[in-house]
């Protein structure tokens, strides 16, 4: 197998995030220093409220850290402009949200297609990829439905399909298996693992799911907004 060269895709340096919850400051992240290399298959675990979602948001530029620095593929995130950041996300990051966050006015098929459309992928290629992807996640029969006409698990799968269809370099997944039955969860995990092995796609999960932790190559535990443990298997 061809050896994929490892580079630091995400680097954080003393990242702090303080939220303002109705005047009360909440320290969601308390100085996180982490380096994530390309090709990782990493799970971030920790109790609820430990800062997992916050961390994923910050490393993808969906949120700005209160203090500290984030490098994305060697670029300082805070120095990127709005359009540049959007393009970077579009081309390099697939995000699977904890709350699915599908576009309500678009059908399943269109939701999955959307990012490729933004990126200007040709129509036939787009179509082929969407069909293949929907097949993989088992949503072929519901491609014309709107998100509101789907179950939670189905929506979760659409979100996964949307994130992966354009084969971005990095997939950030916030509890991707939380709403799936164990069979579907296992299948998807299997698929992600295969993608990771074959293409070197980087995966970062936040999870409570033992199955995900099991298959992860690296396990980072957050506690009170700090890295508690960090072990590579």
């Amino acid at each position: 197998m061809e050896q994929i060269q490892k580079t630091d895709v995400i680097v954080t340096e003393s990242v702090m995030k303080v939220y303002d919850a109705d005047g009360i400051p909440v320290n969601a992240l308390n100085g996180v220093d982490l380096t994530i290399q390309s090709g990782e298959f990493t799970a971030i675990v920790g109790p609820s409220g430990s800062g997992k979602t916050t961390f994923l948001n910050i490393i993808s530029g969906l949120d700005a850290p209160t203090e500290g620095k984030v490098w994305l593929s060697g670029k300082v995130l805070s120095e990127m402009g709005g359009n540049e950041l959007s393009d970077f996300r579009r081309d390099n990051i697939g995000f699977i949200f904890q709350a699915y966050n599908l576009i309500p006015v678009l059908t399943v098929e269109e939701n999955v297609e959307y990012i490729m459309l933004l990126a200007g992928v040709p129509k036939t290629e787009r179509h082929d990829r969407v069909v293949a992807m929907l097949e993989t996640v088992g949503l072929k029969d519901v491609e014309d439905r709107l998100p509101t006409q789907l179950s939670g698990g189905q929506q979760q799968r659409v979100a996964i399909a949307r994130a992966m269809v354009s084969e971005p370099a990095i997939i950030l997944a916030d509890e991707p298996t939380a709403n799936l039955d164990s069979k579907t969860g296992a299948d998807l995990l299997e698929m992600m693992r295969r993608l990771n092995d074959e293409t070197g796609m980087t995966f970062i999960f936040s999870t409570h799911d033992p199955m995900v932790m099991e298959s992860a190559k690296r396990l980072i535990t957050l506690r009170d907004g700090k890295v508690d443990t960090d072990e590579t298997k």
Binding site: G82, S86, R89, N101, L102, I103, A119
Partner: protein
């Protein structure tokens, strides 16, 4: 794709779309009617003022308009009239003789303005017969009759059948003095005119002032008042006589014309207020719909939609609704203005504009009544849409996606 999402958003939030559209449609239609009615009223006033009095175009001897004088006459007015009639847009023409003098009935006398009219032509051109509110109009052949203004009749305590004596100086310097029988009392619609004016048959007047075969003024009525400038030029060309001046009503009644123009400007204020109401309505609904969908914009941005694309998305939604609303509003505006142009809008109390009184307002269906509201609605909606569009484009995805 942005357009597709915009359209779907519009159809998904039907209630909000209808509300926004309603504000625009009402605003558009209202201002369309206001413009239609006021334009109609102005046209009406102008039509009445020109058609019944000064005519649309006047022909005089060069310099008469600036400095009227009994000596500045048109000598072969019959043939000039025929030439004028030859122009396609000319409907009618009528010659007039003007002179001042002293008028008396019995012991009472006052200054009068004598107008000699060709009765048949004057009736055809300016409805002279309709101005006679008491008694009869003048006979079509000269028969020493006089019709005098209502105010003048009062001053002279004249009644129908009274003997009316005019005393003046004729064009040849001799003394002009003759007696006429009052057959009618006239109301021209302008009290000041009626206080001094008396009408004689043109031939009686010519005889009195020794102006045989001559007139001071030829009044021309055209079929299309909007083309009066062109017709004026055409008449000038066909006459080809530098000793004659051919003037459109805008020059003849300059102060009236200026007053009309100034009045029209005043309408802009009413329009502005309507547009302000529309703008506030639009701002409110658009802003609400953006706030309501903060989360969706957050998602769009999170998956890689550029801020500028989100900006366009919001603006597209506003513009699509606006164009639809303008379409519906235009239909309504034309329809309502059309109805008002036929049936008119009647005021309980008469309205006076430019010295002309009228009780029923007729609207006009014209391009202005669609263009002006169209441009203002589109402009104000787009301007107002900018603010929420910028707001949506600036959304921070993580924060936006936490809101429900």
């Amino acid at each position: 794709m942005i357009l597709k999402i915009a359209f779907r958003n519009i159809f998904r939030q039907k209630r909000r779309t209808i509300l926004t559209a309603l504000a625009m449609i009402v605003g558009f239609t209202l201002s369309s009617i206001v413009i239609g009615l006021s334009d109609g009223a102005y046209s009406n006033v102008i039509k009445m003022f020109t058609g019944n009095r000064i005519g649309h175009i006047q022909v005089h001897h060069e310099g008469y308009h600036d400095k009227p004088s009994i000596y500045k006459t048109i000598s072969n007015y019959e043939s000039i009239g025929e030439t004028i009639q030859g122009n396609t847009d000319v409907e009618a023409w009528t010659p007039r003789v003007f002179a001042g003098g002293l008028g008396s009935v019995g012991e009472k006398s006052t200054a009068v303005r004598v107008i000699g009219v060709d009765v048949a032509r004057e009736t055809e051109a300016t409805h002279f017969d309709k101005k006679v509110v008491q008694g009869n109009s003048l006979a079509e052949t000269a028969s020493r009759e006089a019709v005098i203004g209502r105010g003048l009749a009062k001053t002279l305590a004249a009644t129908l059948g009274s003997k009316f004596v005019v005393f003046s100086q004729a064009a040849d310097g001799s003394i002009a003095n003759d007696e006429y029988t009052i057959v009618g009392i006239a109301e021209s619609g302008d009290d000041i005119t009626d206080r001094v004016t008396c009408y004689l048959h043109i031939e009686d007047a010519q005889e009195l002032f020794v102006l045989e075969g001559r007139a001071h003024e030829i009044v021309v009525i055209v079929s299309n008042i909007n083309k009066v400038g062109k017709t004026t030029e055409a008449i000038k060309e066909s006459l080809n006589d530098s000793s004659l001046e051919v003037l459109p009503w805008q020059v003849v009644a300059k102060s009236f014309y200026d007053a009309m123009q100034a009045d029209k400007q005043g309408d802009a204020v009413a329009r502005l207020i309507i547009m302000l109401i529309v703008a506030i309505g639009v701002l409110n609904t658009v802003l609400m719909s953006v706030l309501e969908r903060t989360r969706e914009y957050g998602v769009l941005k999170a998956v890689g939609t550029k801020p500028i694309q989100i900006f366009w998305l919001v603006l597209c939604e506003v513009v699509i609704i606006t164009i639809g609303s303008i379409g519906i509003g235009a239909l309504l505006g034309v329809l309502i203005n059309y109805v008002f142009s036929i049936h008119g809008l009647t005021y309980a109390e008469g309205l006076t504009l430019g010295g002309v009184e009228f009780g029923t307002m007729y609207a006009e269906v014209n391009a202005r009544s669609l263009m002006i509201p169209g441009i203002t609605v589109l402009l104000s909606a787009t301007l107002v849409g900018l603010f929420p569009a910028i707001k949506a484009a600036r959304i921070m995805p993580a924060k936006a996606m936490r809101t429900h």
